[in-house]
Symmetry: C2
Subunit: 467 residues, 2 copies
Amino acid sequence: MERITISALYADAEQLGGQKVTAAGWVRSVRDMKNFGFVTLNDGSCFKDLQVVMNRENLSNYEEVASCGVGAALIIEGVLELTPDRPQPIELQAQTIVIEGPSSPDYPMQKKRQSLEYLRTQQHLRPRTNMFRAVFRIRSVAAFAIHQFFQDRGFVYVNTPIITASDAEGAGEMFRVTTLDLNNVPRTEKGDVDYSKDFFGQSSHLTVSGQLQAENFAMAFGDVYTFGPTFRAENSNTRRHAAEFWMIEPEMAFCDLAQDMDVAEEMLRYVIAYVLEHCPDELEMLNKFVDKGLLERLNHVANSQFSRVSYTEAIEILQEAVKAGQKFEYPVEWGIDLQTEHERYLTEQHFGKPIFVTDYPAAIKAFYMRLNDDGKTVAAADCLVPGIGEIIGGSQREDRLELLEKRIVELGMNPDDYKYYLDLRRYGSCTHSGFGLGFERLVMYLTGVDNIRDVIPHPRTVGNADF
Amino acid sequence: MERITISALYADAEQLGGQKVTAAGWVRSVRDMKNFGFVTLNDGSCFKDLQVVMNRENLSNYEEVASCGVGAALIIEGVLELTPDRPQPIELQAQTIVIEGPSSPDYPMQKKRQSLEYLRTQQHLRPRTNMFRAVFRIRSVAAFAIHQFFQDRGFVYVNTPIITASDAEGAGEMFRVTTLDLNNVPRTEKGDVDYSKDFFGQSSHLTVSGQLQAENFAMAFGDVYTFGPTFRAENSNTRRHAAEFWMIEPEMAFCDLAQDMDVAEEMLRYVIAYVLEHCPDELEMLNKFVDKGLLERLNHVANSQFSRVSYTEAIEILQEAVKAGQKFEYPVEWGIDLQTEHERYLTEQHFGKPIFVTDYPAAIKAFYMRLNDDGKTVAAADCLVPGIGEIIGGSQREDRLELLEKRIVELGMNPDDYKYYLDLRRYGSCTHSGFGLGFERLVMYLTGVDNIRDVIPHPRTVGNADF
């Protein structure tokens, strides 16, 4: 069977008009008008449906098709008709219709609107709905845009390890990876769990970040990026947290914090522009039914410069706001970790666009960030966007061996665990920076969908590893 | 600092000749000729080095630079000179050189050749060597080529879950993912491990394949692909097996086995051609020092059709070979699983190019493969390539509900565990197919490197999760 995708039928309508073609897809609706009928067919190749017209007279299995039900798979041979005067520009005049796979009255994706909560229990079928077809196409296109952005600029894509014996952040709750028999955990003479008997011969976990390993490669290739899954075993059940999520982590040699922010900003604008160009139908649907401000916001951000403000200035802005009557749950003073309410006030209320907040207190940031000359802040930059809050966390890395060693000891960590990382400062150390972009948060931003469970094909959260 | 990459210096040499530029990178060698000296600099932006010329007379820190050692990071300002008559087409006449990060005499990546075994103990530094710069650049370019291939054809990239409570193959040794305290494993009243207390509320593992979930999305989008890490907890220490590796798994609706092979073949040829075009320097190096037949083989495959042979025919070929004196360790008869020695004989000796072996006995293949009309073989197709053996395993999926249910029961599996998968056959089932490509095996094929540990940034194997 030489089928033509619906996407190609629309794209090449001029050449294909009047010709015999074969389309295949799934029924979204059937209307039986007695002597003739309409089937709305979708094959997933594009957001648009194909209108199929069938005549009782010349279709021997008309009855069967008319009652095949939503969700059935059909293969349709017919003549493509150009219909510029009707709502849809093309129609397929069916000559034969093969019911490849019937559906059933208990098909859970009937046409009526379902709640998002219900659809989360039908993760294998929900991509067949309009909203999820839009979301997951955009997810795919955005992922490619990110690869394209970095590859065009000569970055090397590095697959950093998923299973790791180290902990990039020096904190973060992690999932253990093991082949030990939990019914019969081996013990050392002292009575501890004997991880020397485990698959990797040591205690191993799922990675929380590929940054440290990406640095190994940035010191060889200059510009590199990761794009892979990362994990947090946090027992938090919010609409923004998942246990398994994808991160993009570029790392750049001979690059300081200002240049780091330039790349992050350019990347975000590139991805937004790319999705605007490649997913107009999907965005229109989301703009209509999910988030009425979506298109305006994306167009605005694609064409505007992000603001940059130091943490110290941000605290002053927040304190001014409090004086002017703004209420926050958490008190604002220099030294605090910004809460989501603070981040959203800054990006949504005060600046009204994405911002970078820079130079945070060292005490609330990771050990690897470069100490500023003031001795109390580090060269960090978080990007906050309206509706989401933090979407990117970046920093210039501490490239001075003595200062990095000192910091590791100060925090009670063991420098021996960071031998390889310190080696990068022993042999040809250089100014370098990077950032981490949470891919799901980006997809939420691009789609207006406000629950992370609805932008991941099969989300993993506390108590949920189904499908 | 506005630095120009060495890649850009070569690409734009004509315009930049005679101009003042700033380059930054790492020293690969220094030659001090008393009154002047040469620094060979690499910044990872391309395989080529930059020759830097410095004069004792006008460089105040000449001595310091001349003794800075291999691996030091330098920032060099100077004038780019076109030198078409010398071995390298450009040189940088240094005016100032800043030693950004010194190196040290104990730097492990001195210029002399190191063994691959030793370099595996220096995974954080080995990307700075010629061979690994070639391998990991090709790995990155090949990954992008795969995305480009599928995106150009309208496929949707799906991030299937890494943590899963199901087992795609119905077999395969898996890694447990847990947050239970191994010192104090919770028990049910019966004394079993109480996984309801675990993070996901059930026993969970690392995925061995994203196929079943990819099928969920193929039934909505038509054509989809995954590209992500997969895991096997097999206690095998071979040069072809790693515990963590990346897989590409396309899944296509309204697609039979022949079309599946067409896509697989087209994809492989596309990736090879893409790498040949984008990594000529890297391939030349590998062809010279790692695998002298590499370029000839890749060029041959990029331009030749793969052979297709049924399993039954393959067994006959092998039996003929045995009759003619060919020795195999494992006996050849209909029903056996082909061993690597058999696969390599077929692809290397008999056909001398990549081949698909199709229609294997059902008994040695996975439950989800479509039963052929003969009732004893399934619509499977493995792609075997010279030097590697199996690189792709694909099949047409069983799309008939009754037959699939029957097979699940026959194999002693529980149909309830496959409810979602069976739902795809209940609602709009259709002919569909897919395959899995082991990315590391592809990179081995593309580079001629014969140990999987040398094509993964930080490989995970039995007893190894360092870095």
